[in-house]
């Protein structure tokens, strides 16, 4: 099943709406609570990243019985050094964003921790594409 959500850069008020929607869908599909939690935490971090750094973005969620695949595509400044961005504690967030309780530099490491597969591609000045997958059948791992 395929779902799409739009995210507006800078709109912290609405950050988290896509995560809440996806959460409800996964509950209806009888996905186990621990997996829902991991997907939602990763997705929320990704959603906030778009809000905090990019101009706008789209989230594509594909669900089948084996896994959940999420793609977060944004139009924005891009990430110059992805390895550095993956380091816990590293953040380029503006002081205003930090004041709002975001931008602790834990976003990407947290996504990695909660997902089974993660890929990030970015072009400076164009945008960033973050992809991650969470397996639904835990006993396979």
């Amino acid at each position: 099943m395929h779902f799409e959500y739009r995210v507006q850069g800078g709109d912290f008020v609405r950050a988290g709406q896509a995560s809440s929607q996806v959460k409800k869908i996964l509950k209806q599909l009888n996905v186990s609570p621990s997996i829902i939690k991991r997907v939602v935490v990763a997705l929320y971090e990704g959603e906030v990243n778009i809000v905090a750094h990019a101009f706008q973005g789209k989230i594509y969620v594909d669900i089948d019985t084996d896994k959940i695949r999420v793609v977060l595509d944004d139009v924005g400044p891009g990430i110059p050094d992805i390895d550095l961005a993956m380091k816990p504690g590293f953040s380029t967030s503006s002081p205003i964003v930090r004041e709002m309780g975001f931008g602790a530099g834990m976003g990407l490491p947290n996504i990695k921790q909660n997902t089974d597969k993660m890929k990030i591609a970015s072009v400076v000045g164009v945008g960033t594409r973050l992809e991650f997958e969470v397996n639904l059948k835990e006993w396979w791992r």
């Binding site: 959460k23 409800k24 509950k27 209806q28 599909l29 009888n30 939690k37 935490v41 929320y44 669900i63």
Partner: protein
Amino acid sequence: MRVCPTAALRVSNGKAKLISNRCIDCGECYRVCPTHAITVQQDDFSKIFSYKHCIVLIPSVLLGQFLREISHDEVAKAHITLGFTSIIEVEDSVEYLIGKLNTYVDTAEAKPVISSFCPAIVRLVQVKFPSLVDSIALVRPPLDLTASYIKTNLIHEGVPENEIGIFYITPCAAKIVAVRCPEGEEKSEIDGVINMDFIYNRIFREVKHSLPEEGEQRFVSELSPRSCTWALTNGEASCIDGHCLAIDGVWNVIEFLEKVENDEITDIDYLELRACDESCAGGILAPGNRFLTVELIRKNASSVSMLSIIKTSEKVTRYESAISGRTALTPLQPRSMLKLDEDMAKAMLKMKRVNQLMCFLPGIDCGVCGSPSCLSLAEDVAQGNASVSQCVFLQKIMEQNKPDPEHSFRIMKRIWGENRFRKDCDKPIQNK
């Protein structure tokens, strides 16, 4: 139908039907039912006479119902006249509980810890927020601790267990269910539950009919100020160390738990969550105005005798020796009702069907179909529990060429009952 926080109500055949595994016993439907068709079952009052030692547990909310013209002493006396042998306050165990809870919160892995006080909230989490079930404090609420304490003491004094009857006067329906089929406990120590509105009438009559007597033993509250206000909003949160939050009203709680579930809220240690507005003072069976009740309880709390404050530490020690080791609840299980099917592949098919139907349904949530919202109807149809023809808008689309009003009437009669089409000047109307 629409006030139900878990969408558990449907209308069919002119009557409200309850999907029981979705119900969390919050009582929101009881508040608004225009015909007062929903009643809260209570135990037969005469049951109290079958015990030699018949103890009544009264919550501070009960004393908050009687405005100043009736004293606590008179309320207590009325209970004795009605047949109880002694009166104990529900919040008797609160000081002991505060110590236990603080240790629990301090050592808990999953934060925020969610209070286990309100049984409707415990069920809400089980049903709607299954991933947060492990965050509920596995500490028995004050009612159960007090009941265990009394029973232990009486048995210790040599009273046979079958002669002890413990009765609780409840301001809400959720507590009744919690006593009948408790979560996290095998069996409740409470032998019977009496509705507060019922006892309120009886007490009022007793008080009005009895002559004031002098020189009788006076009922003195032994509660500390924070025990008195425990059942009110912020009663718990103000006693637990760390970053605590008190939220009342079931919709407010749902809004907040959504955020907790997304991990959006991280630095809170303890959540006091109550289903009713103004917590237990706003319980559906509490007859008084909740705001006046709160004010009265707070007044009572600030005027407690010095004696009770001195006695507090002594009481905690007595509880510790009587019931330590019996304060924990067994782990709770999620009871998720949101899933469309056990099998994920089937659930996905049903979800596709729901999304498809939502393209056609008008999205105005009028409720004429007997489901609380368009989405609920779509889910009911996908589950095979309803028909799309129940929607008046879809009837028009489905019978494109010649809509048949007779057919529409038949469907509406099946949902709302025959009588809805008759003129009725006395029909119950909700005044809001």
